[in-house]
Symmetry: C2
Subunit: 156 residues, 2 copies
Amino acid sequence: MASTAAPAIQDSYPDAFAHCFGCGRLNPQGHQLKSRLVGDEVVAEFTAPDKYTGGVPGKAYGGLVASLLDCHGTASAAGYAARADGVEIGGSKPLSRFVTASLKVDFKAPTPVGTPLLVRARLRSLEGRKAWIDMTLSAGDSVCATGEMLAIRLPD
Amino acid sequence: MASTAAPAIQDSYPDAFAHCFGCGRLNPQGHQLKSRLVGDEVVAEFTAPDKYTGGVPGKAYGGLVASLLDCHGTASAAGYAARADGVEIGGSKPLSRFVTASLKVDFKAPTPVGTPLLVRARLRSLEGRKAWIDMTLSAGDSVCATGEMLAIRLPD
């Protein structure tokens, strides 16, 4: 399970970049996803409200799955970049922001709403402004989706 | 621009599959995306409310872009399959439903909120239960994102 002891990467985004519906602390109507660097992984937990159903009630719509992977992936890139730069997550210095260049989502099994989901990320590579991130989204023992992202670092 | 004369593909989904937050007519809290087969293209228009901002206000969060492409892609697959089967969209027979196996989104430029967006799809191939769909999402003359989907037909 995700550790809540580690600070959320999104909570160290600069205010100007903290309005995201998926993960911005300054968007009160959004999902407010919190991604935390724990060991070599970045993890986040999320339980989808019922309204985010897909075509079939009880299962999340594909867009929510993609949203969680998208926000978690860019947060993970920011977290790994901070570690590489020696910048403390949760410290006084805001983190560099990454944006998605490309996201591929493979849907493996229906994703339940109303059930805790775990999103996990690992860094494949970080070279210059480019970060490649591999992700899974799971419910209990079931991997519901995998994700692969290329994220690009914005100038500070 | 999208023709509103053609019936929306999503309005011909069976009731049991019409609850999607992105495009279900039976989800009053959702986006209610409407995709229409016009000539050889499937088109949809959508204007994102301000709350769906990304990190930077004024630009949509990536998850919304992925959501629109995901719902539009599976609708397009259903529309092209109906045409191939000689089933009338908007007729008395519900359409077969497709689900996403894989979706790749390439983000080309920021997607504005509060501005009409046009989502366009073309069929690459339809073989057995598999449909490959290519998409663009644009605001005016600017292509904001492209999408590539493999959708799988569910048994009727």
